[in-house]
């Protein structure tokens, strides 16, 4: 019983996507809209293959990934430091939190004009957009993680004679880790949004650039193909890197439902 339900749940997601593709293919073959506006999945696949035989697609994927990774590392370093300051100092938290919450209401693409003014067309402009779109989420998550540490951990560590300066490394950061990883995951997604938004407006290579190129060439197949690529990359990285790490940590820290059922 359990085995068969496991198999059917493993088939559930692929069959959903298969159905979605089939639906798309059928509606496209009805030809209600011209195929340069509404391409079929086969058109999109063909266009992606063409792009793939050219170097531009691979260069673009590499360029976008590099931008997100570099921007994310910078943003995470800044976000963690600010978050720790917020989590340990009442006044810093009070002031920065309202500021960051305000910043989060700004769409990521809104940072692009400033980036162009400040950095011209260099990669630094894109890093800047990535940082500005993701840093506030990471700082807030870090601060919340620290502020929500069960006080009993701190009390136990203090009783065991942990010196004050060792508290951060030995207790505060590890205790806040589950929330912290959730924040990093959110930051990665927002950084990815930021990079593609910035590339749309100001770059000569990158997935965002290919999207914009598709618009200029009236090539809906390319636009949809690149959109799909962005979704697939986002999903894969989320599932296999951040999702996996988050799941392991939550399990170990005893925060998953699985443990509650067993008790």
């Amino acid at each position: 019983m359990k085995r068969s339900s496991k198999i059917s749940s493993a088939l559930l997601v692929p069959s959903f996507y298969f159905l979605l593709l089939a639906l798309w293919q059928v509606s496209a073959s009805l030809r209600l809209l011209p195929d340069y506006l509404f391409p079929s999945p086969l058109d999109v696949a063909r266009r992606l293959c063409e792009l793939g035989s050219d170097h531009l697609l691979w260069q673009s994927i590499a360029a976008t990934l590099a931008r997100v990774v570099i921007g994310f590392i910078l943003s995470a370093s800044i976000g963690l430091c600010l978050g720790i300051a917020m989590g340990t100092n009442w006044a810093v938290n009070k002031t920065l939190k309202s500021f960051f919450l305000g910043m989060q209401t700004l769409p990521t693409v809104a940072w692009t004009p400033v980036a162009i003014l400040l950095f011209g067309l260099s990669n630094w402009g894109i890093y800047f957009v990535v940082i500005m779109s993701s840093v506030s989420a990471m700082a807030i998550a870090t601060a919340d993680g620290i502020l929500n540490i069960p006080p009993i951990y701190l009390r136990a560590a203090r009783t065991l004679g942990t010196p004050y300066r060792a508290m951060y490394v030995r207790v505060i950061i590890p205790a806040a880790l589950p929330t912290l990883v959730t924040g990093l995951k959110l930051g990665w997604t927002l950084g990815w949004h930021g990079a593609v938004s910035a590339e749309l407006i100001k770059s000569t290579v990158g997935l965002g650039f290919l999207l914009d190129m598709g618009r200029e060439l009236d090539d809906a197949a390319q636009i949809i193909g690149i959109m799909l690529l962005i979704i697939v990359f986002g999903l894969l990285l989320d599932k296999f890197i951040f999702g996996a790490v988050e799941h392991r940590i939550r399990r170990r820290w005893g925060l998953t439902a699985e443990r509650d059922l067993r008790r």
């Binding site: 951990y153 009390r155 004679g161 205790a175 005893g254």
Partner: protein, 255 residues
């Protein structure tokens, strides 16, 4: 080593005019190697006195002397274990146990080596590298005990450590605590609201009563060890403790 509590009292200011007396002045002496129990209903000041001994709070008046020296704050010579085991989930069992050991000069492997005898003593050998979430409630509390004992404190302070456990784990840990006491000769101060637990564990039991919290009786329990929780003699002593608390309440109502 001798712990002397001299007229120690604790009160909190609710408003500048009104004060709440958590603990009326109390004096008692605890000898080295004694297993002493503070028992009483909630709000009777037993945990307050334990926190005073631990140094988490300072007495409003009076003093707490350890070997003639006043207790100024928390120290590694007096370790407390809590109702929650408060283990660190990011460390495995042995690294939790060695958490409090000085790190500057002890290599991790050497640190773990010092914890091995404790693991054996607490019957945790097979769980050395287990994650905390894999342990049962009773085992977690054993690890917490081992973590405190690893620092070789002179006094072990226990703040209702077994009250959240199931009955079977409790019975085991009552025997375990008595064995630890016999093998290590540590001074143990155990706080509980459970009379039978007090009668089972204590060499001496101080019965506390509330508003304001104070000691109303001191009872010596001369039963042989190890004592079983359900031994009729233990049950009889528990009844005696209960009646002492009851008498005290009646007297207060009459006056």
């Amino acid at each position: 080593m001798k712990l002397i509590i001299k007229n120690a009292a604790q009160s909190y200011e609710i408003t500048p005019q009104r004060k709440f007396a958590a603990l009326a002045p109390v004096s008692l002496e605890i000898e080295e190697g004694e297993l002493v129990v503070f028992v009483g209903p909630s709000g009777c000041g037993k945990t307050t006195l334990l926190n005073l001994i631990a140094g988490f709070i300072k007495p409003t008046s009076g003093e707490i002397l350890l070997d003639g020296k006043a207790v100024e704050g928390p120290g590694r010579d007096r370790l407390m274990i809590f109702q929650e085991p408060a283990l660190f989930p990011w460390l495995n069992v042995i690294d939790n146990i060695t958490f409090g050991l000085p790190r500057r000069w002890l290599h991790p492997a050497a640190r773990r080596e010092t914890a091995r005898p404790l693991l054996r003593m607490m019957h945790l050998e097979d769980f050395e590298t287990s994650a905390i979430h894999e342990l049962s409630g009773g085992m977690k509390q054993r690890v917490a005990l081992a973590r405190a004992l690893a620092l070789d404190p002179r006094i072990l302070l226990c703040d209702e450590p077994f009250s959240a456990l199931d009955a079977m784990s409790k019975f085991e840990l009552y025997l375990e605590l008595q064995r630890i006491h016999r093998e290590t000769h540590k001074t143990i101060i155990f706080v509980t609201h459970h009379m039978q637990e007090a009668a089972c564990l204590g060499d001496r039991v101080f019965v506390f009563s509330g508003s304001p919290g104070r000691v109303v009786h001191e009872v010596k329990i001369n039963l042989p060890r190890p004592r079983d929780f359900n031994d009729p003699k233990v049950v009889a002593f528990a009844a005696e403790l209960m009646s002492k608390l009851g008498q005290n309440k009646e007297q207060r109502h009459e006056t």
